[in-house]
Amino acid sequence: MQLLQWFLMGIMFTLGSIGVAYLSTKVKMPWYGWSTVIIGSILVLFGIGWSGASFLEGVAQSGAMALMLMSMPGVLMVVLAYRYFATQIVSKS
């Protein structure tokens, strides 16, 4: 089951990378904005990975704590960075 988890995490990572890359073509942000988004995304992924392993080992409390202490701050970081630093790139066409 843990191998399946790694596989799913790989898919999520790939989709996340494409997502951030897509975002970079649509919005402009200063370097600290992008850093916050990337670190936030990694935190989200880390929390999901931790949570998955915790559920596999049967300690649901650990999984819940990981989502709360890692993934949730990650989501907040991404959202706040987007909210405060992102400006739309206006298409020239």
Partner: protein
């Protein structure tokens, strides 16, 4: 190829060229590849660094000892004292002092409680102490009770599995191509026979018990006491009377043995082996349920160590297997690079914490690649984390902020109180008398300190991650990690939910599709 197909291909090619010409898509692909690749490379780098970190760093400073540090006489271990009626008569002041200071009972006596240990009746209203749990605990001790291992577990040397007999050593000595080849062969055999860790240390006299002590108790005597029902008596005067009769009948005579005159050879190497205890079972500690993985561990120690000793003898070299006897398993475990000394005085093994049992093989075979002590920052972590001490029902664990050379816990100011402590080495010093007293009182092997330990973790990546970053984290983070451990749901003791969980771990055993959730792992199959 038809005209229609050609037309379709041309359309697809045109679309691809249009996509590639599209600067926005090119940027997207480029950034996804470069960004994702960079993060992936950083992740793989971190993984490699983590793999390296969990190997530990050689600890050349270990052991830190005083100038007068020397071997510990085995007769002074608490277990040796507690099973010896003759030591009871020789040192009544030890019982009296412990009882007076800790139990408000100057007539306290370790020895008379031992025959009835783990024989109190079950209580079906108390999770972990029901007939089901009682049945499990006693079934785990059935092999040790049948094969002299019960006495070996209490430190009696030269028993059936841990025999000193060398008459079966092959005359021809096998020649290994290199020291590494020899060590690898020993490790391979150890793995085959159930070891989860194996290290080879040079024999160090300071860590051997010297002199070795045999309390003179025999399996026949213990069986005789049981057949008379002495183990069910709760009147200690009656127990003492029965013990005196048995001592006369079986002519019990304790003796001390020396390495120079009694041990069959001069050991050069000590092979240190660790067998795992079951995570979910130990998590129920302290209970009769968790006593099962302890009893089972004693059987596994004996089969493993005796098999390795026989393997060495078959190669033409002398070897003696041992469990708790002959020397300090924790010190040799550290010397063999298996782990570090914890606050609870147990060996903390990366990936297991204290959830292992240690056995050893003394041998004169020395053409091996020796291991050396390593550190993973675990003892350092223990300085900030006191979870084992907080979980200890008898307050036996050293709660000092740092390691030190002498026992300085409760009653350390009383003359002779630390008779059971091996002093002169920098470590934490527990009060083993309080610990064993709790065993006798609670009628189980406790194990609360091991269950509560922050390093007692199942085999999942996030626990290895913590292990890997531990050496690089500062002290205040250690304190935070220690506090988060219970907050994340780990390390609770005296928890009926853990007992319930353990009894569900058999689900899925018919197929068990991962082969992972076997003994020593965790969770349902």
């Amino acid at each position: 190829m038809t005209t229609k197909n050609i037309s379709q291909n041309e359309t697809a090619n045109e679309q691809l060229e249009a996509d590639l010409d599209n600067p926005e898509r090119r940027t997207l692909l480029k950034r996804a590849a470069i960004g994702g690749g960079a993060v992936l490379a950083a992740g793989m780098g971190s993984y490699a660094a983590g793999k390296s970190s969990v190997q530990g760093v050689p600890d050349l400073s270990w052991p830190v000892v005083t100038d007068d540090f020397k071997s510990f006489p085995q007769r002074n271990t608490v277990l040796s004292y507690a099973i010896s009626p003759q030591q009871m008569m020789r040192h009544p002041e030890r019982n009296e002092q412990f009882g007076r200071l800790n139990k408000n009972n100057p007539n306290y006596n370790f020895q008379v409680q031992v025959p009835g240990y783990e024989f109190k009746p079950w209580d079906n209203s108390r999770p972990g102490f029901t007939q089901l749990d009682h049945a499990l605990q006693h079934s785990s001790w059935f092999p040790p009770f049948s094969t002299e291992l019960r006495l070996a577990g209490l430190g009696t040397p030269n028993s059936r599995f841990y025999s000193w007999d060398q008459s079966d050593v092959e005359l021809e000595q096998y020649q290994f191509g290199s020291e590494k080849e020899a060590s690898d062969a020993i490790r391979a055999a150890a793995k085959l026979y159930g070891a989860v860790r194996c290290g080879i240390a040079r024999r160090d006299k300071r860590f051997d018990y010297d002199p070795i002590y045999d309390a003179g108790i025999t399996t026949e005597m213990m069986n005789s006491l049981e057949s008379q029902g002495v183990h069910k008596l709760r009147d200690y005067k009656q127990v003492a009377g029965a013990m005196q009769e048995a001592m006369k009948e079986f002519k019990v005579q304790d003796r001390e043995l020396t390495w120079e005159h009694d041990f069959p050879f001069v050991p050069k190497s000590v092979i240190v082996l660790a067998v795992p205890m079951d995570y979910d079972n130990l998590a129920t500690a302290p209970s009769r349920t968790s006593g099962a993985t302890v009893g089972d561990g004693y059987t596994k120690m004996a089969t493993l160590a005796s098999s390795i000793a026989k393997f060495i003898k078959n190669l033409g070299f002398q070897a003696v297997a041992c469990g708790n006897d002959l020397g300090s398993s924790v010190a040799y475990g550290i010397a063999a690079g298996l782990g570090e000394g914890g606050r609870n005085n147990q060996l903390l093994v990366p990936g297991y914490g204290p959830r292992v049992r240690i056995c050893k093989v003394y041998t004169d075979f020395e053409f091996v690649e020796y291991d050396q002590a390593h550190t993973w920052g675990m003892t350092e972590f223990c300085k900030s984390c006191k979870k084992c001490g907080e979980a200890c029902p008898s307050q036996a664990i050293d709660m000092s902020d740092d390691t030190h050379f002498y026992y300085d816990g409760e009653h350390s100011d009383q003359p002779g109180y630390a008779w059971g402590n091996h002093e002169g080495i920098k470590k934490f010093h527990t009060d083993a008398k309080k610990c064993f007293d709790y065993w006798l009182e609670s009628d189980n092997d406790c194990g609360a300190c091991a269950a509560a330990c922050t390093f007692n973790e199942p085999d999942y990546w996030h626990h290895w991650f913590i292990m890997a970053i531990n050496p690089y984290t500062p002290k205040f983070i250690h304190s935070l990690m220690a506090e988060l451990h219970p907050a994340f749901g780990y390390g609770s003791t005296e928890d009926p939910a853990k007992v319930k969980k353990f009894w569900k771990t058999g689900e899925g055993m018919r197929v068990n599709e991962t082969n992972r959730h076997a003994f020593g792992a965790v969770g349902k199959a």
